[in-house]
Assembly symmetry: C2
Homo-oligomer: 134 residues x 2
Amino acid sequence: MTQKQEQLSKNQQIVLSIIERAKGPLKAYSILYNVQKRGIKAPLQVYRALEKLIEAGKIHKIESKNAFIACKNSDCEISKTTAFSICNNCEHVKEIKNSKLSKYLSNFADNSGMKYKKYNLEFFGLCKNCKLKQ
Amino acid sequence: MTQKQEQLSKNQQIVLSIIERAKGPLKAYSILYNVQKRGIKAPLQVYRALEKLIEAGKIHKIESKNAFIACKNSDCEISKTTAFSICNNCEHVKEIKNSKLSKYLSNFADNSGMKYKKYNLEFFGLCKNCKLKQ
DNA sequence: TAACAAACGTTATATTATAACAAATTAAGG
DNA sequence: CCTTAATTTGTTATAATATAACGTTTGTTA
Ligand SMILES: [Zn+2]
Ligand SMILES: [Zn+2]
Ligand SMILES: [Zn+2]
Ligand SMILES: [Zn+2]
């Protein structure tokens, strides 16, 4: 009876805490530098933790940036339907929590007959701050 | 009066022709191997061509795969609003052309007040073929 | 406690992408 | 045509991102 792991392991906790404390998405090697004092020495240790954290819905990968951000949607069990807004100027990234959007996309079906359980959406534009400064 | 380039350069044409002939998305180094007989020797030559082709809307990058696919929407001048369906099993990728979807997303605005001119959406699931074989 | 799965540690290496610089080509204006 | 600027090219080196392979340790379950 294999069952989904509940508890995070030591390395997973360390990596998660760094990501949660960060103001924005972190890159894997930046995480590595941040956790070396806590005993994590190699990239692979970070990548393994990242993989598990993503599976657990604790973090998401921003694909267009190869960076990782903590989930703010009360730990999306979802984790499969993600949407982000990304500022092209200051690189600010925010997870979009919008039930209409997620409903719309979860129910989307094109003529291919393919039904999707998973998607990732990345919006780009200028955030409020950066819009003013222009 | 700088103006958007109309004509593709030699290397851009070579790279584009490879991508257009391919059945699915190609990775940069796979493109490189494919064009070496045509005189392109270095990764940078490929990446430079890719960059221009993306700007021109001739190709798109599949972010979750670090791969490049030819645009099928009559050369999206759009190129800024992209959606793809990706099969998790056979890796088949198809650009989604659906005006309702693009209208919905182009008009989407969340409570952040941010308005988006650009997005990339990647759907994941099983294609028809792979669904049958399961 | 035996058996298995998951996590860990470590070294090496694969893959993806860009920096820096100089030469060649192309486009536009006088 | 000549000049100038912009773009494209060629080349070498290197940065940044990610995984393979192996053996050990730890935790769970029967
Ligand atoms: Zn989330
Ligand atoms: Zn901003
Ligand atoms: Zn397109
Ligand atoms: Zn398939």
